[in-house]
């Protein structure tokens, strides 16, 4: 199964580029978010204990296990179900893709954003869940699905999401080369 997964991931260039902005987060909330986001995927656990001593420092998001983890992990129906339920997607992050964290300065204030790819869809269910867990924080997700020619934006607060999408299929004829990672 693991070999099949590798092939799937290697072939998967149907990716969605995401920017997640974390606005109006106090220090403690941001720490809570980052702590939750750097946890191990349940796929990395065995009987409730992590299979490895620690997660990769590059894994900022619980929903984005690194390719290293993804490739090592065994596939399991229950975990896929969990992922689909909680992240609205499955199969982990595409190979070569680790989330990146950046800091944006605006009018003297600094706030963080995370840049990552997901296969096929933007992580809407994750957005809903994380905004429920941190109800005072504004999460803004911008996503860009090049293969589907979709640009979208979503704002989540306390579990409620507002979202818009723009389709731009007219560029298909000169933007066919799309890759992920």
């Amino acid at each position: 199964m693991s070999k099949q997964r590798n092939t799937l991931i290697a072939k998967n260039n149907n990716c969605c580029h995401n920017y997640l902005w974390v606005n109006n987060a106090e220090g403690e909330e941001l720490e809570r978010f980052e702590k939750a986001a750097s946890d191990c995927s349940p796929r990395m656990t065995f009987r409730g204990k992590p299979r490895q001593k620690s997660c990769s420092p590059g894994t900022h998001m619980i929903l984005f296990p690194t390719s290293h983890h993804v490739l090592r992990a065994e596939y399991d129906f229950i975990e896929v179900f969990w992922e689909t339920e909680h992240w609205a997607r499955k199969k982990g992050a595409p190979a070569k893709t680790d989330p990146l964290k950046g800091l944006r300065e605006m009018m003297g204030e600094t706030f963080p954003y995370y840049w990552f790819d997901t296969p096929a869809k933007p992580p809407m269910a994750f957005l809903r869940n994380v905004s429920k867990a941190l109800p005072t924080v504004d999460f803004v997700l911008t996503y860009h699905h090049e293969n589907h020619c979709v640009l979208g934006v979503a704002k989540a607060k306390a579990g409620r999401i507002k979202r818009h999408e723009i389709h731009y299929a007219e560029v298909n004829h000169y933007s066919k080369e799309v890759s992920c990672g």
Partner: protein, 157 residues
Amino acid sequence: MDNCFYNALAVHGPAADVATFKKQAVGYDPEMTTKERRKVKPCALNFHSLVPIPDRLLKAGDPTGQHWEDWEAKHWGVAGGALFEHKAAGVLCIVEEGKPNVLWYSFDTFGRPPIKFLKQVSKKWPTLLFLLHYQEEGAIRIGIAKVKAGKAKHYQL
């Protein structure tokens, strides 16, 4: 005081047109003297280079800055164009390797997103498609827009 908007702009189009656009977008604020220009790099997305402030206004001078700002607000939708002197990162222009059909810009504007400016630019560059994402500081107004040949589709949250 107006709030600051962060903008991410993607310019899609035929490779040759995208490359020409990238060159033409570079420039200096017309207010800057030759001496001042020697000290700094040109801005990667200079609004004046794409939708120029008329010569008659520039020649007349504007000590208070009000006449120019009025013109900019009317024709660009934002006074001051892409702000770079306030930001550590400045205006960024990113070209992804192997993707000559797309250009990415990252810049800030005051007061509102530059939709009006993009409408003007896209009239001059009808083969290009402009995709904009913006967010106001504090995430008060957030939106996306698609602009082509003078027409815009714009959604704001």
